[in-house]
Each structure stands twice: as C-alpha cells, then as structure tokens.
Homo-oligomer: 388 residues x 2
C-alpha cells in the first residue's frame, strides 16, 4: 500500500494546571454571546463553573447555558442546543466536560450554522459542514480525544442508531487540558476512558498498511505510556504527572497523527456503538469487554502484527513459542491489563447476557472494510458469545 | 517540573507520490502573483520545475522567480528576496527545496511583510513578526523539518553569525511531501539530512523534564524508525516506503510534537552553527561530528537518560554492566550508526583540524540553559579537541 495521506490539525492545545489562564485571551477572538455547554453539574462540584463565570464576566460576555448533556448524547439534546444557539444568536460555544459534551457541541455547532436537518444531513448522509459556530473545549473527562479531532458520536433514540462522523473542519478552535480537572472522576470513569484510548490506538494499529510505518511505532509508544501510567493512576488518582500523561495520550490517540498511512479498523467501535444503542453501557467498558474476544477472532488474519504487539507492547518473551502462541499471549495480556485496572472484560459484567438479543444486534452491525478480516453477522455472533 | 505546554501546528501536510495534485486547489486561496523560491536548479533536473510552471499557468498565476538560494542561506540573499517581493507585490511564496530554501523563504516572508531591518528586528532582537507573506513548501531535501515549523536559520556573512529563530506564526500554510522528489539526492545529502533529524530528536530527548512523559516515548519511536529505515535507504535509495518513513520522521522530529513538556538542549546545534559560520560545513555532517564528543562530555549529568537511550534505542544489553558502561555503549552505538550510514563522525573529515581556531570559535558559542550541563567555553574547547 502506498504511503499517502493528508495531515492537518489546527486545534490549539493549552496543557497544564494553569491552562485556563489562556481562556480570556481566546475569548477576545469571538463575539459577545457565549454558550456554555456542559453535563450534569460535575463542573460545579470542582469549582470550574464559578471560575468560568468570573472569566466570562471579566471578558464582558453574555452567557447562555446549555446543560444536562448526557453520556451517549441524544439527537433530541442536540436539537435543544441548536434551538438555543439560534434563539440567542450565539457567537461561540465553550464545551466543558468529556467526549459526550464535546461531541454534542460539535453537532450543535454544525446543526445551528447550517440550515438543514442535522441528523439526516450530517449523520446519515455525511455532507461536509459548510459552516460552523466556532467552539473551544475544556476537558474534564479523558478518553475520547474529541478535544483535538473532528469526530462526533450521537445516538438517535427514535431509530436506535448510535453513529459517529468525522469532519476535519469540525476540530475545536482550541482546547484547554488541565490534568487536575480529572482528579474528581470516579475510578469507573477514569478506567473507562483509559480503555477507550487504548481501543482507539488498537483500531488504527491493527489495520493495513503493515509495512514499516511511523504511525505504528508511535502507536506502540503511546500504548506503552498508557499501560505504565494507567497503573499509577489507579493506585494514586492524584498523581499529576501520570494523569497528565494519560490525558495527552488520549489526545494523541485520536488526533489523526497515528492514522497517517493507516486504513483503520474501527470494528470494535462499530460493535460497541450498536450494543450501547440497545443497552445502557459505558463506552470504554463496552470496548474493553469486546476487544479481547474480537481480536482472538481475527488474530489469524493479522498474525504477524499481533505477534509484534505481544512482544513490543506487552513484553511477551517469544522464545520457544509459535507465532500463534505469542500473539495469543499478547491478547491475554491485554485482557489482563484491562482486568487489573478495573475494567469489565466480559459483557455480563455490564448486564448484557441475553445471547438471543445479541444475535439480533449482530444483524444491525456495520462491517468495517479496514479490518484484517471483513466480518459478517455470524462472526459478530461468535464474538458476542465469547464476550458474554 | 510541571507538565505544561502549548501545542499548535496548523500546517497542512500533503504526503505521498500524488501530493502535488493538491497544489492547484491550494493556490486558489492566494492572489495572482506567486514567487517561486528555489536553489541551484535541482528542481529542474527532476522535472519538478516544468510541472510547477504548468500548474501556475493553469492557475493563471504570474510567476516571479527567486533562485540560487544557497546552503546556509545568507542575509544578503534574504534581502534580494525581500526586494523582489516588494517590487512585484508578491501575494504568495512557494519554496521548493530543502531547509535552506524554506528558511530563506520564511525570512523573506517576514522581512517583506514588515517594514523593518529583518536581521536586526527578527534575528537579533527576536520580535515576533506581526505580518507575513503566506507561503507553502515543496520538500526535495529531507532533514530540517522546516516544512512544519516556524524555524528559520540564516547566516550573516558580515558579522559571521549563523543563527536560528522560531516563530510559531511562521509555520508554512501547507507543505507537499513526495518521497520520490528525494530520490535524486546524493548519498551525502541524504545522510546529512538523516543526521540532522536524529540530532533534532536527541536535542529534545536529552533535556529536562525527565519525568515519565509522552514526548520521550515518541522520540524513541522516531529514532528507532530512523535507524531502521536509514540503513534501508543507504542500501536502496529508491525504496519508496523507507524514504517515506525518513521524510515523515524528519517532519515529526521538529514540528514541536516531541518538544511538549521538554525544555530542549540545542547545544549541539549552537556549536555547529558557530563552526559553519567559519567553515563551509554541511549542517547534518557537522552535527554528526560533534554529537558523540558532546554527549560523552555531558553524559554523567544525565546518566539515567543516556542509559535509557542505550537500552531503548540501540538495544544495548544492560546485563552485568554499570550504568556508565551502558550509557557509554549507547553513545558508541550512535557514533557507529553515523559511521555505518556514511556520515562524518570527526571534524577532520570535514577539513576542520585547526585546534587553535576552534578554541576561538568556542569563545563565540552560546551556552544552552536547557542542557544537562550548562557549558562554558572550556567545555566546548574540550568537546572540539575530542571531535577533531
């Protein structure tokens, strides 16, 4: 396969415990009315809400609040945001939260700036947004990488579809990343984010091209950094340096850097999206529960890469072992890592146990063309059976 | 040290053998008059000049030629370019070549857009350029990373100063990278570029902070990719994939990604700049000749990092060895790598042999505050003695 790609990521990253100091200067670039988008009030608990209100006041901004954005943000919530933007002539949106808030904000940005049905136009028919309401993000929950990419995942409850789109021109104008904002997350949320970022890397790493390429080497570096620092974070959630590493790993995992020259798989994400359209499953945990089963199922079709993964990422000793044994040991180590940090590695731990219902979900899954093995519904049924 | 940085790199990269197809679309964004900046005609030999003229014609552009940009571009040459831009009201500059052409173009861009003495204002007094003439690059010689950063190194012959500046807002608007354009480079030029990019990484890697950080892990991944692919390129200069890897490594080595949370050393570059202000030394070869001597001199002040380098980058087996032995073996392996790919690892190979003259040069060197050991002139004299 040809070494051939476009890389363009203009999002400005402010990283560190004083990163918020840059907000006032950034706000000067935009008009008077700012919409503050956030979730269910976690930003109030950590004092960030009050800090922001003070900055808005000093910057002489009118603030419109768009709150209550839920995990797996819904099309209905996006419509609520679009209405607010239009009614108030919002000039700029500041998304404060995790992937859900950021993804919802992107949908609101493109939906309100363009006179179309946002769901049909952008999420079903993949039209590139012509216009956007400018927006920035402040990250309080780490994992999705939404702070430095043009991706947005929205769930339409009416039709039971959770789907993601990626538009390069929907990258945030800037993002503020302060590891300390993540201290108050529950262990469940933190670990879920770590599983999400690991999955993002693996979905790119385990795909063509497998010729010697820079992206795969960077991916291994990021995975090793995540594994090392995840253990530290689980032990001491207030280790600033480890939280900082994990936060930056998450951003680089999905800012298109390690996608350069790679086709990308994304089948695990496809499958998880379908599960969580039916069940109330936390994204990262769903990924952790499916990944080992999925990778064991496709392992033979990318054996040399799984062998490389085992040796380079999980330090599996290859001596006196067949390629298959080495590869399998790598996936075992991945599952063990997920388990050790407290992730769910079986669907039953997420209260997903009904094999017949999973069979039906398997029929609704999209089959990735970038995977080592292009699946069919029967493959997914088998993967589900082994993941329960 | 605190995990604290700003990352912002908006340069759009078109990478691959068809990357030039994107030029016409890019040119639409700018006015009618384009200045084509290039060196001594290598772009004619590879047919690129004719291709560009065809594209300019199709895009209905008026072309001003600014040619003859030399290695270590001079302040006089920059002034010539500034004059051309002003006389012809140039709207956009396309730099086609290597680091010299790109760096010279940056100086011309800031110098012609702002009504100041470019050397005094930007290169001596570090004023951030308020305006710029927009510019893109097409890379034909790999190494400096200038295609995705705001750095520019200019030599002022009158005062015998070669100095570099870095202005974030002087990053190219876009860069076109086609590995095939580099096929016709001499082995000397190719190897010199490889030494340059290795040095760029080491200058960032061997500096504070040494706490677990993502940048150092990415640096190791890039160095290993360079070493592996350098050997392939030397054996078969037309290996597209290996040339592609080296090309992308060079860009990532100096696009500020691996600088995040790192102080940076840059003493080897400082020293080399002073040598080549006095001698006609090719930048990358000068770096290769100084690096081993420099790193042996400061090794004790960053021992654990040099040990890590030896093990992680050069696979030195640490068993039954002291930290110092391991670290030293890593630097020996670095020198061996330079030698194996055909780089000069001694100053005498570059016809720099006069110790007394080097003593004088040592007195003119800048002493980096980001180094493991902040040097003085005597240190540099010793480093020179060991590098001859």
């Amino acid at each position: 396969m040809q070494y051939d790609f476009i890389f363009h990521n203009p999002t400005k990253i402010y990283f560190g415990e004083n990163a918020l100091d840059n907000l006032k200067e950034e706000l000067k670039k935009y008009g008077k009315t700012v919409m503050l988008a956030y979730g269910k009030g976690a930003i109030k608990k950590i004092g960030l809400y009050d800090e922001l209100m003070k900055i808005f006041k000093e910057a002489n901004k009118t603030v419109i609040e768009f709150s209550g954005i839920m995990p797996n943000p819904t099309a209905a919530k996006v419509k609520e945001g679009i209405k607010l933007v239009r009614e108030n002539n919002v000039d700029f949106i500041l998304a404060v939260g995790g992937g859900s808030t950021m993804d919802c904000t992107k949908a609101v940005s493109m939906g309100s700036a363009n006179n179309v049905d946002f769901w049909e136009h952008f999420y079903m028919n993949y039209n590139i947004p012509e216009k956007k309401i400018p927006f920035g993000t402040i990250v309080t929950m780490v994992g999705t990488g939404s702070e430095m990419n043009g991706g947005s995942v929205i769930t339409n409850e009416d039709v039971k579809i959770k789907t993601g789109v990626v538009y390069p021109n929907m990258m945030p104008d800037f993002s503020i990343l302060n590891p300390k904002y993540t201290y108050s997350l529950s262990k469940f949320q933190m670990v879920s984010g770590i599983c999400d970022m690991m999955s993002h890397i693996m979905e790119q790493y385990f795909s063509q091209t497998d010729e010697d390429n820079v992206s795969d080497d960077l991916s291994e570096a990021l995975m090793k950094n995540i594994i090392r620092n995840a253990y530290i974070c689980v032990k001491n959630p207030q280790d600033y340096n480890a939280r900082g590493n994990i936060m930056w790993d998450a951003t680089l995992a999905l800012n298109t850097l390690i996608a350069c020259s790679k086709k990308g798989d994304w089948e695990v994400h496809n499958i998880e999206h379908q599960i969580s359209a039916y069940y109330d499953v936390t994204h990262g945990m769903g990924l952790a529960a499916i990944s080992p089963s999925y990778y064991r199922h496709i392992m033979d079709y990318g054996l040399s890469k799984f062998k490389r993964f085992a040796i380079n990422v999980f330090n599996v000793n290859p001596e006196n072992k067949t390629d298959k044994e080495i590869a399998l040991e790598g996936i075992d180590k991945l599952e063990e890592f997920f388990k050790n940090i407290g992730a769910t590695t079986k669907l039953r731990e997420l209260n997903v146990t009904n094999a017949e219902e999973l069979d039906k979900i398997a029929e609704t899954c999209y089959f990735s063309q970038g995977a080592y093995k292009v699946l069919n519904a029967d493959d997914i049924k088998t993967i589900f059976r082994n993941a329960i």
